[in-house]
Amino acid sequence: MPLLRDTPFVRQKPDQKNRELLHNVGDMSRMHAIILVGGGIVCAFLIVLSMVFWHVSSAAIDRLSEDRFVQEVENIADKIQEQIDEQVAILYSMRSLLLTGEEIGQSEWNKMVREAQIKQRYPTLLAVAYLENSRHEDRETATDTEEEQGNFVIRYIEPYESNQDYVGLSIEGDDWELDRIRDAGELTSVGRVRFGEIADDYVYLLPVFESGLPQLQFQERRDAHLGFLIAVIQPGGLLESLSYLDEDAHHQFSLEMSDIEGDVLLKREIPRGFMSVENVSGRLVWSTPVRSTGLEWTLRISGPKYFGVGAMEMKMPLLILLGGCGFSLLLFTIVYLAASSRMRALQLAKHMTAELGKFQLAVSHASNHIIITNTDGEILFANIAAEEITGYSRGEMIGKTPRIWGKQMLPEFYKEMWKVIKEEKRPFNGEIINQRKDGTKYDALVHISPIVDKHGLLYGFVGIEEDITARKRLEKSRSEFVSLVSHQLRTPLTAMRLTIETLMNGVVGPVDKVQREMLLRAMEYAVHMSETIFTMLTISHLEAGKISVALGEVNLCGHIEVLSREYEPEYGRKQQKVSVQCPKELSLQTDGKLLKEILANLISNAIKYTPAGGTVTIRAQEENNQVRIDVADSGMGIPLDEQKRTFQKFFRAKNILKKDTSGTGLGLYLVHSLTKLLGGRITFVSTENKGTTFSLFLPITTPSHEKDFNR
C-alpha cells in the first residue's frame, strides 16, 4: 500500500477529477457564449451599416436618375429650339435670293424652293410663301390710308401642289399686324394663326425691302417695303421629326408640348404605348421652355422613376443591402462554427490530455525499464523502472545515452544493433548484459523499436528492457543441476551396467546359470534406473522448452515391433500375451525418437500393470487422416474418481500404490506432454479391475508451423 499511495491514480479520487473537468467545461461554455454574443453584435452592426449604405445609395440612384432625366429633357428642348431656328433661318436665305434683282415667276420660285430641299430637310415646315405688297406697282395711285393699311397678296407658295388655291389670296394687313412687322423690319412670329385650312400652325414673317436690309428710317422702310416671306411651321411636328427620338430609343418616357395658353400641341410616347404624361405617380416629370423668335412653348416630359439607370445600377442598393446582410450572417456562422469547433477541440484536447496523462502514468509505472531516445540515442524519457533497474536517477539519464549502463557487450553487438534499428529501421530484440550504477552487472532482455512515421522518417527509439538476471540465474542453476544429475547419476550407472554385461558376456570367466540369472535381474534394475533418469531429464528439458522436434518419415509398425521385442524378457517372465495389430505400410511424419519414448512408456505401463497371464494389445490404424494407436491392457484399471488427474505430474493411482511403490508418476505426464509437442492428443478408457486402453492420435503430416515448435 505505501507504494500505491504515491501513485496519482490513487491519490486523485475520480469524482474530484470529474468536477475539475466539468469546471473547465463551464469555463469554456462562458467563453463560447462571449464569442457568440460578440459575434452577434458585430453582425448586427454590419447589418445596420449595410442598411445605411442601402439608403444612401438609393438616394444617390434617385439623384442620378433625376439628373439624367433633366439632362435628357433639356437636350430635347434644345434640339427642338435648334430645329425651329434653323427652319426660320431659311427665310433669310430666301430673301437674299429674292433680291438678286431678276424678275421671278412662280416656276422660278418653286424651283428655288425645291433646290433648297426645304421639304426634305424640314418636314414640319408646312409652307413657305411670299406675300407681295399689292400696292407696290401702283404705289403712286394708292391712298395714304390704303397705303397705311396695306394690302398683301400671296404671290408664291410652296409646296405649290397642295396650296395653289392660296396663290392670289389677299390678306389684310390688320389681321397679322403686318404693318407692325414691316415697321419692326425683323423676323417676327405672329403666333398661332389660321392660315387657310391649316390650323394651329405658327407663322413667321420676314419683311422684304428693296435694298435688302431694312432702312434705318421708319418712313424709308415703308417706302422700300416689297412684301413678306412667310414660313408656316408646325412645332408639334418637330417632335415627330426629331431623329433623336426614334422608337428604338433606350429611354422610356412620354412628352407633350403645349403653347403659352396651355393648349397641348402634341403628345408623344417613347416607345409607343408607354404611360402618358398625366399618370405622374412614382414618376419623374419635368417642364422646360422652348423659345424661338419671340414665341415660347412648354415641353413637359414624364419618365419612369429610374430614368436612364441601368438594371444593375437600379439593383445596386438592394444588392448592397442583401450582400451586407448575407456577409454578416456568413460572418456570424463562421464565428459560431469556429467558436463551437474550438470548444469541441478544447474538450477533445482536455480529454486527450487526460488520456495521455493516464498513458504516461502507465508507462512511468510499468515494471519494465522503458526509455525513449532521439535518433542519436540521447534519452528523452525514462520511467521509474529504468531508475530502479539501472540505479541512475532520471536527471542523470536525460540527455545521456544508454551507454552509461551499457558497454558490456562486444562492439560488434552494438554495431549490429544500431544497424538494425537505425539503418534498417526494424525492431531489435536480444539478450544483453548491462552494468548498474553500483557496478553490478545484470542480464536484460531488450526490445528496441524505431519510431518511424508513415513516410519512413525516423524520430527516435523506444527501448524496453526486462531485468532477467533472476531468471537467468534460475535457468543456470537448473541447467547445472541437470548436468549434475546426468553426469553424477549416469556415470556410476554406466560402470554398473558395463560390469554386469562384461560378467554376463563371460569375458572375464564363465558364469553359471544361477549367477547369470542374478546378473540378468541386476541388469533389469540398471536399465530401469537408466530409463527413470532419461524420463526425468526429458521432462526437465521439456519444461525448459529445450526439446526440439526432428521430423522424419516413421514406419509405425517397425517401431512398434522393435519396442515390443525390447520388452520381451519382461512380459515373457509374466507369461503375458502381447499382440500387435498394425498395417505394414502405415507411416507418418513425426519425430521418431519422441514417438518411441511415448510408445515405450505406454507399452511398459501396460505390461507392468497387467497381471501374469494377461494380455496386452497394441493396435495401429489410420482414422480420419490421423494415426490412431491403441495400447490396451487387462490390468487393474484407473479408479473413476482419479481419471481426471491421470496425466498430471507425479500422479499414481491409489489401487497401484497399494501393490507397487516403484513408479515415479512421471511416465504418463511425459507421454501427455510429448504427444502435445507432436501435435497429437491422447485419451483413455479405463474400468477398474478390467483394464485400460490408451488411444494416441497423431497427425499423419505435421503442419509445417509446428516443426519449429519449442525451438
Binding site: 553426469h487 556415470t491 560402470a495 531429464l537 529445450k546 526440439s548
Partner: protein
C-alpha cells in the same frame, strides 16, 4: 585390424569398453583425457573415435574443435552422460556422427551402433 580410440576419464569404464569391444576383433586404445587424445591423434588416426565430453583439462568440445581445425577426417561418435540439447547441437556442428548416452546403452547395443562406421 580396425582401430578404435576411446577418450574416457573414468579408467574403469574405459577398460570395460576396451575389454568388451576387443571381443569383436578390433584394436582399442584408451586415453584418459582430451590432451592425451590429441597427442594420440597426432601420432595415428583411428578408424573410429569414441569421445567423452566431460574430461579434465582439455574437454571433448575442445578436442572436437582441434580436430576440425586440423581438418582430420575420421568418424567421431560422442559417448557421454551429458544429454542437454545444446551439447548435442554443438557436437553435430563440430562434425560428430552420433551422440550416445553411456548409461542408456549396453556394450552390445553400443557395438551395434558403432560397427556401421567401421
Amino acid at each position: 585390424m580396425k582401430k578404435i580410440l576411446i577418450a574416457e576419464d573414468e579408467e574403469f569404464i574405459a577398460n570395460l569398453y576396451k575389454l568388451n569391444l576387443e571381443e569383436h576383433g578390433v584394436a582399442v586404445e584408451v586415453v584418459p583425457d582430451g590432451k592425451a587424445a590429441i597427442e594420440s591423434l597426432e601420432r595415428s588416426k583411428p578408424n573410429l573415435f569414441l569421445l567423452d565430453l566431460l574430461m579434465p583439462e582439455v574437454d571433448g568440445f575442445q578436442v572436437l574443435k582441434h580436430i576440425q581445425e586440423k581438418g582430420w577426417k575420421f568418424p567421431i561418435v560422442i559417448l557421454t552422460n551429458l544429454s542437454q540439447e545444446i551439447d548435442k547441437t554443438q557436437c553435430k556442428e563440430f562434425g560428430a556422427e552420433d551422440f550416445l548416452i553411456k548409461s542408456d546403452l549396453g556394450v552390445e547395443e553400443l557395438w551395434e551402433k558403432i560397427s556401421v562406421y567401421l
